[in-house]
Amino acid sequence: MSRSKLEMATQTLRTAQGIAGLFFRLRHGRDSAQKQFIFSAVTPLVLYMGFFTLFPMLWGLALAFFEYSARRSGGPVLGLGGDNPFVGLQNFGDMLNFAPDAPLNVRQFHISIRTTLLFAFLILPLNLAITLPLAVSIESAHDRLKGFFRMFFFLPVLAPSVGVAIMWSYVYHPQRGLLNGILTSLNGKLVGINWTGDQSLIFLGVPIALIAVIIAYLWQDLGYNLVIFIAALQSIPESIKDAARMDGVSGWQMFRYISLPLLKPTILLTSVLTMISSFQVFDIIQVMTEGGPNDQTRVLLLDIYNNAFRFQRMGWASAVSVVLFLMVFSISLVQTRLLRTEWEY
Protein backbone atom coordinates (compact mmCIF):
# COMPACT_ATOMS: atom_id res chain seq x y z
CA MET A 1 0.00 0.00 0.00
CA SER A 2 2.58 2.48 1.10
CA ARG A 3 4.86 1.31 -1.65
CA SER A 4 2.39 2.03 -4.41
CA LYS A 5 1.73 5.41 -2.81
CA LEU A 6 5.42 6.11 -2.89
CA GLU A 7 5.55 5.07 -6.51
CA MET A 8 2.63 7.30 -7.30
CA ALA A 9 4.27 10.18 -5.55
CA THR A 10 7.58 9.78 -7.39
CA GLN A 11 5.68 9.33 -10.64
CA THR A 12 3.78 12.56 -10.08
CA LEU A 13 6.96 14.32 -9.13
CA ARG A 14 8.72 13.10 -12.24
CA THR A 15 5.87 14.10 -14.50
CA ALA A 16 5.77 17.51 -12.87
CA GLN A 17 9.50 17.82 -13.35
CA GLY A 18 9.14 16.75 -16.93
CA ILE A 19 6.39 19.22 -17.69
CA ALA A 20 8.29 21.96 -15.92
CA GLY A 21 11.37 21.00 -17.88
CA LEU A 22 9.44 21.02 -21.12
CA PHE A 23 7.98 24.46 -20.41
CA PHE A 24 11.40 25.69 -19.47
CA ARG A 25 12.93 24.31 -22.61
CA LEU A 26 10.03 25.42 -24.77
CA ARG A 27 10.61 28.94 -23.57
CA HIS A 28 14.40 28.86 -23.45
CA GLY A 29 16.13 25.85 -24.87
CA ARG A 30 13.74 23.46 -26.61
CA ASP A 31 13.73 25.28 -29.88
CA SER A 32 17.45 25.65 -29.89
CA ALA A 33 17.92 21.97 -28.94
CA GLN A 34 15.77 20.97 -31.88
CA LYS A 35 17.50 23.43 -34.13
CA GLN A 36 20.81 22.06 -33.06
CA PHE A 37 19.66 18.51 -33.76
CA ILE A 38 18.38 19.45 -37.21
CA PHE A 39 21.49 21.45 -37.97
CA SER A 40 23.91 18.73 -36.90
CA ALA A 41 22.02 16.15 -38.95
CA VAL A 42 21.25 18.11 -42.11
CA THR A 43 24.67 19.73 -42.57
CA PRO A 44 26.53 16.43 -43.14
CA LEU A 45 23.71 15.25 -45.42
CA VAL A 46 23.96 18.32 -47.63
CA LEU A 47 27.76 18.20 -47.75
CA TYR A 48 27.80 14.45 -48.41
CA MET A 49 25.17 14.53 -51.14
CA GLY A 50 26.81 17.55 -52.65
CA PHE A 51 30.09 15.68 -52.94
CA PHE A 52 28.99 12.12 -53.69
CA THR A 53 25.75 12.75 -55.64
CA LEU A 54 25.49 16.22 -57.18
CA PHE A 55 29.17 16.63 -58.00
CA PRO A 56 29.49 13.32 -59.92
CA MET A 57 26.29 14.10 -61.80
CA LEU A 58 27.65 17.44 -62.99
CA TRP A 59 31.11 16.00 -63.62
CA GLY A 60 29.64 13.16 -65.68
CA LEU A 61 27.62 15.64 -67.72
CA ALA A 62 30.71 17.81 -68.25
CA LEU A 63 32.81 14.83 -69.37
CA ALA A 64 30.37 14.21 -72.22
CA PHE A 65 31.65 17.43 -73.82
CA PHE A 66 35.33 16.50 -73.62
CA GLU A 67 37.63 13.97 -75.16
CA TYR A 68 38.77 12.61 -71.85
CA SER A 69 41.03 9.83 -70.61
CA ALA A 70 42.09 9.38 -66.99
CA ARG A 71 45.56 8.38 -68.28
CA ARG A 72 46.27 11.89 -69.60
CA SER A 73 46.93 14.58 -67.03
CA GLY A 74 45.01 17.37 -68.80
CA GLY A 75 44.13 20.80 -67.41
CA PRO A 76 44.19 22.05 -63.83
CA VAL A 77 40.45 21.65 -63.10
CA LEU A 78 39.55 17.93 -62.81
CA GLY A 79 41.98 17.16 -65.62
CA LEU A 80 39.64 18.81 -68.12
CA GLY A 81 41.18 20.78 -70.96
CA GLY A 82 44.79 20.56 -72.13
CA ASP A 83 45.43 17.01 -73.35
CA ASN A 84 41.77 16.27 -72.70
CA PRO A 85 40.31 18.89 -75.05
CA PHE A 86 36.84 20.38 -74.98
CA VAL A 87 35.00 19.12 -78.05
CA GLY A 88 31.58 20.69 -77.52
CA LEU A 89 28.71 18.69 -78.96
CA GLN A 90 30.98 16.58 -81.13
CA ASN A 91 30.34 13.34 -79.18
CA PHE A 92 26.60 13.78 -79.59
CA GLY A 93 27.04 14.83 -83.20
CA ASP A 94 29.04 11.64 -83.88
CA MET A 95 26.15 9.60 -82.51
CA LEU A 96 24.05 10.83 -85.43
CA ASN A 97 26.61 9.74 -88.01
CA PHE A 98 24.83 6.82 -89.64
CA ALA A 99 27.23 6.48 -92.55
CA PRO A 100 28.53 2.93 -93.10
CA ASP A 101 32.13 4.21 -92.76
CA ALA A 102 31.46 5.85 -89.37
CA PRO A 103 34.12 5.18 -86.70
CA LEU A 104 33.88 1.82 -84.91
CA ASN A 105 32.79 3.29 -81.56
CA VAL A 106 29.90 5.10 -83.28
CA ARG A 107 28.76 1.95 -85.10
CA GLN A 108 29.03 0.01 -81.84
CA PHE A 109 26.90 2.64 -80.13
CA HIS A 110 24.18 2.20 -82.76
CA ILE A 111 24.35 -1.56 -82.32
CA SER A 112 24.12 -1.15 -78.54
CA ILE A 113 21.05 1.07 -78.72
CA ARG A 114 19.33 -1.34 -81.07
CA THR A 115 20.25 -4.40 -78.99
CA THR A 116 19.16 -2.75 -75.74
CA LEU A 117 15.77 -1.80 -77.17
CA LEU A 118 15.34 -5.24 -78.73
CA PHE A 119 16.29 -6.84 -75.42
CA ALA A 120 13.87 -4.73 -73.39
CA PHE A 121 10.96 -5.06 -75.81
CA LEU A 122 11.39 -8.84 -75.96
CA ILE A 123 11.78 -9.20 -72.19
CA LEU A 124 8.61 -7.31 -71.32
CA PRO A 125 5.97 -9.37 -73.20
CA LEU A 126 7.75 -12.65 -72.43
CA ASN A 127 7.94 -11.76 -68.76
CA LEU A 128 4.23 -10.90 -68.55
CA ALA A 129 3.23 -13.94 -70.61
CA ILE A 130 4.94 -16.19 -68.06
CA THR A 131 4.41 -14.37 -64.75
CA LEU A 132 0.67 -13.62 -65.09
CA PRO A 133 -0.53 -17.20 -65.69
CA LEU A 134 2.02 -18.46 -63.18
CA ALA A 135 0.80 -16.02 -60.51
CA VAL A 136 -2.83 -16.99 -61.13
CA SER A 137 -1.94 -20.70 -60.99
CA ILE A 138 0.02 -20.33 -57.76
CA GLU A 139 -2.76 -18.24 -56.25
CA SER A 140 -5.31 -20.97 -57.01
CA ALA A 141 -3.14 -23.85 -55.80
CA HIS A 142 -3.80 -25.47 -52.42
CA ASP A 143 -2.92 -23.26 -49.49
CA ARG A 144 -0.05 -25.41 -48.29
CA LEU A 145 1.60 -25.51 -51.70
CA LYS A 146 1.13 -21.81 -52.45
CA GLY A 147 4.01 -20.71 -50.25
CA PHE A 148 6.26 -23.43 -51.60
CA PHE A 149 5.71 -22.58 -55.25
CA ARG A 150 6.06 -18.88 -54.62
CA MET A 151 9.40 -19.41 -52.88
CA PHE A 152 10.53 -21.84 -55.53
CA PHE A 153 10.06 -19.43 -58.43
CA PHE A 154 11.33 -16.50 -56.39
CA LEU A 155 14.66 -18.09 -55.39
CA PRO A 156 16.61 -17.13 -58.55
CA VAL A 157 16.00 -13.46 -57.69
CA LEU A 158 18.09 -13.97 -54.57
CA ALA A 159 21.02 -15.60 -56.35
CA PRO A 160 23.89 -13.46 -57.63
CA SER A 161 23.30 -12.72 -61.31
CA VAL A 162 26.90 -13.69 -62.02
CA GLY A 163 26.20 -17.17 -60.64
CA VAL A 164 23.05 -17.39 -62.74
CA ALA A 165 25.02 -16.42 -65.85
CA ILE A 166 27.70 -19.04 -65.20
CA MET A 167 25.06 -21.64 -64.49
CA TRP A 168 23.34 -20.95 -67.81
CA SER A 169 26.61 -21.08 -69.67
CA TYR A 170 26.81 -24.73 -68.52
CA VAL A 171 23.40 -25.24 -70.13
CA TYR A 172 24.50 -23.66 -73.43
CA HIS A 173 28.04 -25.11 -73.52
CA PRO A 174 28.63 -26.35 -77.11
CA GLN A 175 30.27 -29.69 -76.17
CA ARG A 176 29.33 -30.32 -72.54
CA GLY A 177 26.09 -28.39 -72.22
CA LEU A 178 22.76 -29.67 -71.00
CA LEU A 179 20.82 -28.33 -73.99
CA ASN A 180 22.96 -30.04 -76.63
CA GLY A 181 22.98 -33.15 -74.45
CA ILE A 182 19.18 -33.28 -74.47
CA LEU A 183 19.05 -32.58 -78.21
CA THR A 184 21.62 -35.29 -78.86
CA SER A 185 19.62 -37.91 -77.00
CA LEU A 186 16.42 -36.86 -78.80
CA ASN A 187 18.12 -36.69 -82.18
CA GLY A 188 20.26 -39.80 -81.95
CA LYS A 189 23.08 -37.86 -83.60
CA LEU A 190 25.58 -35.59 -81.91
CA VAL A 191 24.38 -31.98 -81.67
CA GLY A 192 27.07 -29.35 -81.12
CA ILE A 193 25.35 -26.00 -81.55
CA ASN A 194 27.29 -23.02 -80.18
CA TRP A 195 24.28 -21.23 -78.73
CA THR A 196 26.07 -18.14 -77.43
CA GLY A 197 28.97 -17.96 -79.86
CA ASP A 198 27.77 -18.54 -83.41
CA GLN A 199 26.85 -15.30 -85.15
CA SER A 200 25.20 -17.03 -88.11
CA LEU A 201 22.40 -18.39 -85.90
CA ILE A 202 19.42 -16.07 -86.26
CA PHE A 203 15.77 -16.70 -85.49
CA LEU A 204 13.16 -14.33 -86.99
CA GLY A 205 15.78 -11.60 -87.22
CA VAL A 206 16.85 -12.03 -83.59
CA PRO A 207 20.31 -13.52 -82.95
CA ILE A 208 20.14 -16.84 -81.09
CA ALA A 209 22.86 -15.61 -78.72
CA LEU A 210 20.57 -12.75 -77.68
CA ILE A 211 17.68 -15.18 -77.17
CA ALA A 212 19.99 -17.33 -75.03
CA VAL A 213 20.84 -14.45 -72.69
CA ILE A 214 17.19 -13.34 -72.65
CA ILE A 215 16.17 -16.79 -71.39
CA ALA A 216 18.79 -16.65 -68.63
CA TYR A 217 17.73 -13.11 -67.71
CA LEU A 218 14.04 -14.07 -67.63
CA TRP A 219 14.79 -17.12 -65.51
CA GLN A 220 16.32 -14.90 -62.85
CA ASP A 221 14.01 -11.91 -63.17
CA LEU A 222 10.59 -13.63 -63.18
CA GLY A 223 10.33 -13.83 -59.41
CA TYR A 224 10.03 -10.07 -58.93
CA ASN A 225 6.91 -9.59 -60.99
CA LEU A 226 5.57 -12.92 -59.80
CA VAL A 227 5.48 -11.96 -56.12
CA ILE A 228 4.07 -8.53 -56.97
CA PHE A 229 1.27 -10.10 -59.02
CA ILE A 230 0.52 -12.67 -56.33
CA ALA A 231 0.23 -9.89 -53.75
CA ALA A 232 -2.05 -7.93 -56.10
CA LEU A 233 -4.24 -10.98 -56.73
CA GLN A 234 -4.56 -11.53 -53.00
CA SER A 235 -5.75 -7.97 -52.53
CA ILE A 236 -8.74 -8.45 -54.84
CA PRO A 237 -11.75 -8.49 -52.50
CA GLU A 238 -13.29 -11.94 -51.97
CA SER A 239 -16.76 -10.40 -52.34
CA ILE A 240 -16.12 -9.59 -56.01
CA LYS A 241 -14.91 -13.12 -56.72
CA ASP A 242 -17.84 -14.60 -54.80
CA ALA A 243 -20.29 -12.53 -56.81
CA ALA A 244 -18.71 -13.77 -60.03
CA ARG A 245 -18.81 -17.34 -58.79
CA MET A 246 -22.51 -16.99 -58.00
CA ASP A 247 -22.95 -16.01 -61.63
CA GLY A 248 -21.21 -19.24 -62.56
CA VAL A 249 -18.18 -17.88 -64.41
CA SER A 250 -15.41 -20.24 -65.44
CA GLY A 251 -11.79 -19.96 -64.31
CA TRP A 252 -10.75 -18.32 -67.56
CA GLN A 253 -13.65 -15.85 -67.45
CA MET A 254 -12.76 -15.02 -63.86
CA PHE A 255 -9.23 -14.19 -64.97
CA ARG A 256 -10.21 -12.34 -68.13
CA TYR A 257 -13.09 -10.22 -66.76
CA ILE A 258 -12.34 -9.92 -63.05
CA SER A 259 -8.65 -10.36 -62.19
CA LEU A 260 -7.08 -8.87 -65.31
CA PRO A 261 -8.93 -5.51 -65.25
CA LEU A 262 -8.29 -5.17 -61.52
CA LEU A 263 -4.61 -5.99 -62.02
CA LYS A 264 -4.24 -3.34 -64.71
CA PRO A 265 -2.54 -0.69 -62.55
CA THR A 266 -0.13 -3.30 -61.14
CA ILE A 267 0.66 -4.58 -64.62
CA LEU A 268 1.38 -1.08 -65.90
CA LEU A 269 3.67 -0.34 -62.97
CA THR A 270 5.61 -3.60 -63.17
CA SER A 271 5.95 -3.11 -66.93
CA VAL A 272 7.67 0.21 -66.36
CA LEU A 273 9.96 -1.25 -63.70
CA THR A 274 10.80 -4.25 -65.90
CA MET A 275 11.59 -1.92 -68.77
CA ILE A 276 13.87 0.31 -66.69
CA SER A 277 15.83 -2.59 -65.27
CA SER A 278 16.24 -4.30 -68.63
CA PHE A 279 17.67 -1.08 -70.10
CA GLN A 280 20.41 -1.49 -67.51
CA VAL A 281 21.24 -5.13 -68.11
CA PHE A 282 24.95 -5.88 -67.73
CA ASP A 283 25.99 -8.77 -65.46
CA ILE A 284 24.45 -11.69 -67.31
CA ILE A 285 25.57 -10.51 -70.74
CA GLN A 286 29.09 -9.56 -69.68
CA VAL A 287 29.64 -12.97 -68.10
CA MET A 288 27.92 -15.12 -70.76
CA THR A 289 28.94 -13.49 -74.04
CA GLU A 290 30.92 -10.29 -73.33
CA GLY A 291 28.69 -8.70 -75.95
CA GLY A 292 29.57 -11.22 -78.65
CA PRO A 293 29.41 -12.91 -81.05
CA ASN A 294 30.27 -10.01 -83.33
CA ASP A 295 28.54 -7.50 -80.98
CA GLN A 296 25.21 -9.32 -81.34
CA THR A 297 24.54 -9.03 -77.59
CA ARG A 298 26.28 -5.70 -77.01
CA VAL A 299 24.01 -3.57 -74.81
CA LEU A 300 24.42 0.06 -73.75
CA LEU A 301 25.91 -0.54 -70.33
CA LEU A 302 28.45 -2.94 -71.80
CA ASP A 303 29.30 -0.30 -74.41
CA ILE A 304 29.80 2.28 -71.65
CA TYR A 305 31.91 -0.10 -69.55
CA ASN A 306 34.14 -1.14 -72.43
CA ASN A 307 34.69 2.39 -73.69
CA ALA A 308 35.35 3.89 -70.26
CA PHE A 309 37.33 1.20 -68.48
CA ARG A 310 38.94 -0.86 -71.21
CA PHE A 311 39.64 1.71 -73.92
CA GLN A 312 39.88 4.85 -71.76
CA ARG A 313 37.39 6.78 -73.89
CA MET A 314 35.69 8.30 -70.87
CA GLY A 315 34.33 11.37 -72.65
CA TRP A 316 32.58 9.28 -75.27
CA ALA A 317 31.38 6.80 -72.63
CA SER A 318 29.94 9.71 -70.61
CA ALA A 319 28.03 10.90 -73.65
CA VAL A 320 26.60 7.38 -74.06
CA SER A 321 25.71 7.45 -70.33
CA VAL A 322 23.72 10.63 -70.93
CA VAL A 323 21.74 8.81 -73.63
CA LEU A 324 21.11 5.87 -71.30
CA PHE A 325 19.99 8.32 -68.62
CA LEU A 326 17.55 10.01 -71.02
CA MET A 327 16.08 6.62 -71.95
CA VAL A 328 15.59 5.61 -68.32
CA PHE A 329 14.36 9.06 -67.37
CA SER A 330 11.67 9.17 -70.04
CA ILE A 331 10.35 5.80 -68.87
CA SER A 332 10.48 7.03 -65.26
CA LEU A 333 8.32 10.01 -66.22
CA VAL A 334 5.73 7.60 -67.54
CA GLN A 335 5.96 5.81 -64.21
CA THR A 336 5.32 8.93 -62.12
CA ARG A 337 2.34 9.75 -64.31
CA LEU A 338 0.96 6.27 -63.72
CA LEU A 339 1.53 6.57 -60.00
CA ARG A 340 -0.33 9.85 -59.92
CA THR A 341 -3.42 8.32 -61.52
CA GLU A 342 -5.85 7.19 -58.86
CA TRP A 343 -7.20 3.70 -59.13
CA GLU A 344 -10.19 2.47 -57.26
CA TYR A 345 -12.32 -0.59 -57.07
Binding site: G18, L22, L45, V46, F152, F154, L158, R176, L324, F325
Partner: protein, 286 residues
Protein backbone atom coordinates in the same frame (compact mmCIF):
# COMPACT_ATOMS: atom_id res chain seq x y z
CA UNK B 1 -35.24 -24.00 -54.41
CA UNK B 2 -33.61 -26.69 -56.45
CA UNK B 3 -31.17 -24.36 -58.17
CA UNK B 4 -30.31 -22.61 -54.93
CA UNK B 5 -29.18 -25.91 -53.47
CA UNK B 6 -27.43 -27.09 -56.58
CA UNK B 7 -25.40 -23.95 -57.13
CA UNK B 8 -22.89 -24.11 -54.27
CA UNK B 9 -22.26 -27.78 -54.98
CA UNK B 10 -21.54 -27.12 -58.61
CA UNK B 11 -19.22 -24.20 -57.90
CA UNK B 12 -17.33 -26.24 -55.38
CA UNK B 13 -16.90 -29.04 -57.87
CA UNK B 14 -15.79 -26.64 -60.60
CA UNK B 15 -13.31 -25.03 -58.27
CA UNK B 16 -11.86 -28.35 -57.23
CA UNK B 17 -11.25 -29.30 -60.83
CA UNK B 18 -9.54 -25.96 -61.42
CA UNK B 19 -7.45 -26.58 -58.36
CA UNK B 20 -5.92 -29.73 -59.77
CA UNK B 21 -5.65 -28.40 -63.29
CA UNK B 22 -3.18 -25.70 -62.16
CA UNK B 23 -0.65 -28.39 -61.29
CA UNK B 24 -0.52 -29.35 -64.96
CA UNK B 25 1.19 -26.00 -65.41
CA UNK B 26 2.98 -25.62 -62.09
CA UNK B 27 4.77 -28.95 -61.90
CA UNK B 28 6.31 -28.98 -65.42
CA UNK B 29 7.22 -25.31 -65.02
CA UNK B 30 8.99 -26.08 -61.73
CA UNK B 31 10.90 -28.95 -63.29
CA UNK B 32 12.11 -26.79 -66.18
CA UNK B 33 13.02 -23.98 -63.80
CA UNK B 34 15.13 -26.17 -61.54
CA UNK B 35 16.88 -28.07 -64.34
CA UNK B 36 19.86 -25.69 -64.85
CA UNK B 37 20.47 -25.71 -61.11
CA UNK B 38 20.35 -29.50 -60.88
CA UNK B 39 22.67 -29.72 -63.89
CA UNK B 40 25.26 -27.59 -62.13
CA UNK B 41 25.01 -29.50 -58.84
CA UNK B 42 25.32 -32.89 -60.57
CA UNK B 43 28.24 -31.58 -62.59
CA UNK B 44 30.07 -30.51 -59.47
CA UNK B 45 30.10 -34.16 -58.29
CA UNK B 46 31.40 -35.61 -61.57
CA UNK B 47 35.01 -36.57 -62.15
CA UNK B 48 37.21 -34.63 -64.57
CA UNK B 49 37.14 -37.44 -67.13
CA UNK B 50 33.36 -37.76 -66.97
CA UNK B 51 32.84 -34.02 -67.49
CA UNK B 52 34.90 -34.24 -70.71
CA UNK B 53 32.69 -36.99 -72.12
CA UNK B 54 30.75 -36.21 -75.29
CA UNK B 55 27.78 -36.46 -75.22
CA UNK B 56 27.56 -35.47 -71.55
CA UNK B 57 25.96 -37.63 -68.88
CA UNK B 58 23.14 -36.32 -66.72
CA UNK B 59 23.60 -38.23 -63.46
CA UNK B 60 27.18 -38.54 -62.20
CA UNK B 61 28.31 -42.11 -62.92
CA UNK B 62 30.96 -41.91 -60.29
CA UNK B 63 30.08 -39.64 -57.39
CA UNK B 64 33.12 -37.70 -56.14
CA UNK B 65 33.78 -34.95 -53.57
CA UNK B 66 37.25 -34.35 -54.98
CA UNK B 67 36.22 -31.15 -56.81
CA UNK B 68 35.14 -29.54 -53.55
CA UNK B 69 38.33 -30.68 -51.85
CA UNK B 70 40.35 -29.15 -54.70
CA UNK B 71 38.52 -25.84 -54.43
CA UNK B 72 38.96 -25.65 -50.67
CA UNK B 73 42.69 -26.38 -50.83
CA UNK B 74 43.42 -24.19 -53.89
CA UNK B 75 45.90 -21.55 -52.74
CA UNK B 76 44.95 -19.36 -55.71
CA UNK B 77 41.40 -19.26 -54.43
CA UNK B 78 41.24 -18.37 -50.72
CA UNK B 79 37.44 -18.46 -50.56
CA UNK B 80 37.43 -17.45 -46.90
CA UNK B 81 39.06 -14.13 -47.75
CA UNK B 82 36.50 -13.37 -50.47
CA UNK B 83 33.61 -14.32 -48.23
CA UNK B 84 35.08 -11.92 -45.67
CA UNK B 85 35.42 -9.07 -48.21
CA UNK B 86 31.85 -9.53 -49.40
CA UNK B 87 30.53 -9.72 -45.83
CA UNK B 88 32.38 -6.60 -44.66
CA UNK B 89 31.07 -4.50 -47.52
CA UNK B 90 27.51 -5.80 -47.34
CA UNK B 91 27.20 -5.53 -43.54
CA UNK B 92 28.80 -2.09 -43.33
CA UNK B 93 26.46 -0.80 -46.01
CA UNK B 94 23.41 -2.31 -44.34
CA UNK B 95 24.29 -0.63 -41.02
CA UNK B 96 25.01 2.79 -42.45
CA UNK B 97 22.13 2.81 -44.91
CA UNK B 98 19.63 1.78 -42.23
CA UNK B 99 20.98 4.49 -39.93
CA UNK B 100 20.88 7.32 -42.48
CA UNK B 101 17.59 6.23 -44.07
CA UNK B 102 15.73 6.08 -40.76
CA UNK B 103 17.31 9.25 -39.34
CA UNK B 104 16.71 11.40 -42.41
CA UNK B 105 13.36 9.79 -43.17
CA UNK B 106 12.27 10.78 -39.66
CA UNK B 107 13.78 14.23 -40.05
CA UNK B 108 11.95 14.94 -43.30
CA UNK B 109 8.69 13.59 -41.89
CA UNK B 110 8.57 15.30 -38.52
CA UNK B 111 10.62 18.50 -38.62
CA UNK B 112 10.46 21.77 -40.45
CA UNK B 113 13.56 23.65 -41.45
CA UNK B 114 14.74 25.98 -44.15
CA UNK B 115 15.51 24.31 -47.46
CA UNK B 116 13.74 21.11 -46.42
CA UNK B 117 11.61 20.85 -49.54
CA UNK B 118 14.49 21.65 -51.86
CA UNK B 119 16.68 18.95 -50.32
CA UNK B 120 13.87 16.43 -50.34
CA UNK B 121 13.05 17.09 -53.98
CA UNK B 122 16.69 16.69 -54.86
CA UNK B 123 16.73 13.31 -53.11
CA UNK B 124 13.60 12.24 -54.99
CA UNK B 125 15.14 13.39 -58.25
CA UNK B 126 18.29 11.31 -57.70
CA UNK B 127 16.05 8.21 -57.51
CA UNK B 128 15.39 8.64 -61.22
CA UNK B 129 19.08 8.56 -62.08
CA UNK B 130 20.52 5.08 -62.45
CA UNK B 131 23.75 4.51 -60.53
CA UNK B 132 25.52 3.36 -63.67
CA UNK B 133 25.19 6.81 -65.20
CA UNK B 134 27.52 8.33 -62.61
CA UNK B 135 29.95 5.43 -62.41
CA UNK B 136 32.66 7.15 -64.48
CA UNK B 137 32.93 10.29 -62.29
CA UNK B 138 32.37 8.02 -59.28
CA UNK B 139 35.44 6.05 -60.29
CA UNK B 140 37.47 9.22 -60.87
CA UNK B 141 36.53 10.53 -57.42
CA UNK B 142 37.62 7.28 -55.75
CA UNK B 143 40.86 7.38 -57.73
CA UNK B 144 41.63 10.87 -56.44
CA UNK B 145 40.74 9.93 -52.86
CA UNK B 146 43.05 6.91 -53.12
CA UNK B 147 40.14 4.55 -52.44
CA UNK B 148 40.47 2.27 -55.46
CA UNK B 149 41.21 -1.30 -54.44
CA UNK B 150 40.09 -0.60 -50.89
CA UNK B 151 36.98 -2.04 -49.28
CA UNK B 152 36.32 1.50 -48.00
CA UNK B 153 35.88 2.54 -51.62
CA UNK B 154 32.65 0.53 -51.77
CA UNK B 155 31.47 1.74 -48.36
CA UNK B 156 32.19 5.47 -48.09
CA UNK B 157 30.24 6.62 -51.19
CA UNK B 158 27.30 4.33 -50.33
CA UNK B 159 26.11 5.92 -47.08
CA UNK B 160 22.99 7.55 -48.48
CA UNK B 161 20.20 5.62 -50.16
CA UNK B 162 17.67 8.05 -51.64
CA UNK B 163 15.01 5.38 -51.85
CA UNK B 164 15.59 4.42 -48.20
CA UNK B 165 15.09 8.01 -47.05
CA UNK B 166 11.92 8.27 -49.10
CA UNK B 167 10.62 4.96 -47.74
CA UNK B 168 11.28 5.75 -44.09
CA UNK B 169 9.81 9.23 -44.45
CA UNK B 170 6.56 7.54 -45.47
CA UNK B 171 6.74 5.18 -42.48
CA UNK B 172 7.67 7.98 -40.05
CA UNK B 173 4.66 10.06 -41.11
CA UNK B 174 2.37 7.49 -39.50
CA UNK B 175 4.10 7.63 -36.10
CA UNK B 176 1.90 9.79 -33.82
CA UNK B 177 3.42 13.07 -32.66
CA UNK B 178 2.00 12.49 -29.16
CA UNK B 179 4.40 9.59 -28.76
CA UNK B 180 7.37 11.80 -29.57
CA UNK B 181 6.15 14.61 -27.32
CA UNK B 182 5.61 12.17 -24.47
CA UNK B 183 9.26 11.18 -24.69
CA UNK B 184 10.30 14.83 -24.80
CA UNK B 185 8.20 15.52 -21.71
CA UNK B 186 10.13 12.74 -20.01
CA UNK B 187 13.26 14.67 -20.80
CA UNK B 188 14.59 12.70 -23.74
CA UNK B 189 17.03 14.46 -26.03
CA UNK B 190 16.20 14.65 -29.74
CA UNK B 191 18.68 11.92 -30.56
CA UNK B 192 17.24 9.81 -27.76
CA UNK B 193 13.75 10.23 -29.26
CA UNK B 194 15.12 8.95 -32.55
CA UNK B 195 17.00 6.09 -30.92
CA UNK B 196 14.33 4.85 -28.54
CA UNK B 197 11.08 5.62 -30.31
CA UNK B 198 11.64 6.02 -34.03
CA UNK B 199 14.01 3.07 -34.41
CA UNK B 200 11.65 0.92 -32.37
CA UNK B 201 8.59 1.96 -34.36
CA UNK B 202 10.37 1.44 -37.68
CA UNK B 203 11.78 -1.92 -36.56
CA UNK B 204 9.97 -4.32 -38.93
CA UNK B 205 10.46 -2.02 -41.92
CA UNK B 206 14.15 -1.70 -41.05
CA UNK B 207 14.52 -5.47 -40.99
CA UNK B 208 12.89 -5.81 -44.40
CA UNK B 209 14.84 -2.99 -46.00
CA UNK B 210 18.03 -4.25 -44.38
CA UNK B 211 17.59 -7.66 -46.01
CA UNK B 212 17.10 -6.07 -49.42
CA UNK B 213 20.15 -3.85 -48.97
CA UNK B 214 22.27 -6.80 -47.91
CA UNK B 215 21.15 -8.82 -50.90
CA UNK B 216 21.88 -6.06 -53.41
CA UNK B 217 25.33 -5.46 -51.96
CA UNK B 218 26.18 -9.13 -51.71
CA UNK B 219 25.25 -9.77 -55.34
CA UNK B 220 26.62 -6.51 -56.79
CA UNK B 221 28.92 -6.97 -59.76
CA UNK B 222 29.55 -3.99 -62.03
CA UNK B 223 30.61 -1.36 -59.49
CA UNK B 224 32.92 -3.69 -57.47
CA UNK B 225 34.36 -4.89 -60.79
CA UNK B 226 35.43 -1.33 -61.57
CA UNK B 227 36.66 -0.35 -58.11
CA UNK B 228 38.36 -3.60 -57.02
CA UNK B 229 40.92 -4.70 -59.57
CA UNK B 230 43.40 -6.30 -57.19
CA UNK B 231 42.84 -9.93 -56.33
CA UNK B 232 42.97 -9.78 -52.52
CA UNK B 233 40.22 -7.15 -52.13
CA UNK B 234 37.76 -8.66 -54.57
CA UNK B 235 34.27 -9.85 -53.70
CA UNK B 236 32.69 -13.23 -54.43
CA UNK B 237 30.86 -12.48 -57.71
CA UNK B 238 34.04 -11.07 -59.29
CA UNK B 239 36.15 -13.96 -58.06
CA UNK B 240 33.66 -16.45 -59.43
CA UNK B 241 33.88 -15.03 -62.96
CA UNK B 242 37.66 -14.75 -62.67
CA UNK B 243 37.94 -18.38 -61.60
CA UNK B 244 35.68 -19.72 -64.34
CA UNK B 245 37.61 -17.75 -66.97
CA UNK B 246 40.83 -19.30 -65.64
CA UNK B 247 39.48 -22.86 -65.81
CA UNK B 248 37.29 -22.94 -68.91
CA UNK B 249 38.30 -26.53 -69.64
CA UNK B 250 37.61 -27.80 -66.10
CA UNK B 251 33.89 -27.38 -65.75
CA UNK B 252 33.75 -29.84 -62.84
CA UNK B 253 35.90 -27.42 -60.79
CA UNK B 254 34.10 -24.24 -61.82
CA UNK B 255 30.76 -25.91 -61.13
CA UNK B 256 31.88 -26.81 -57.62
CA UNK B 257 33.15 -23.25 -57.11
CA UNK B 258 29.82 -21.82 -58.32
CA UNK B 259 27.90 -24.05 -55.94
CA UNK B 260 30.09 -22.93 -53.05
CA UNK B 261 29.59 -19.28 -53.87
CA UNK B 262 25.85 -19.42 -54.54
CA UNK B 263 24.51 -22.01 -52.13
CA UNK B 264 25.47 -20.95 -48.56
CA UNK B 265 23.97 -17.48 -48.81
CA UNK B 266 21.02 -18.66 -50.85
CA UNK B 267 20.30 -20.90 -47.89
CA UNK B 268 20.27 -17.90 -45.56
CA UNK B 269 18.08 -15.98 -48.00
CA UNK B 270 15.55 -18.82 -48.04
CA UNK B 271 14.91 -18.18 -44.36
CA UNK B 272 14.67 -14.44 -44.92
CA UNK B 273 12.59 -14.91 -48.07
CA UNK B 274 9.33 -13.86 -46.40
CA UNK B 275 10.81 -10.47 -45.45
CA UNK B 276 12.38 -9.90 -48.83
CA UNK B 277 9.13 -10.70 -50.63
CA UNK B 278 7.31 -8.37 -48.27
CA UNK B 279 9.86 -5.66 -49.03
CA UNK B 280 9.51 -6.06 -52.77
CA UNK B 281 5.72 -6.12 -52.81
CA UNK B 282 5.64 -3.16 -50.43
CA UNK B 283 8.02 -1.00 -52.39
CA UNK B 284 8.09 -2.35 -55.93
CA UNK B 285 11.83 -2.00 -55.58
CA UNK B 286 14.02 -3.54 -58.17
Amino acid sequence: MDTAQALPLQTRKGLKLDKYRVYLLLIPASLVAILPFVWMIFGSFKTGSEIRQIPPTFFPKEFTLQNYANILTDKELPLGLFYRNSAIIALANVVQVLFTSSLYGYLFAKFNFRGKNAIFWFILATMMIPHQVTMIPGYLILARLGLLNKLWGLIIPAAIDAFGIFLFRQFSLSIPNELLDAARVDGASEFRVYRSIILYQLGPALATFGMLTFMFNWNAYLWPLIVLTEQNVRTLPIILTWYSNQHTQQLHLTMAASVMVILPVLFVFIFAQRWIVKGITLTGLK
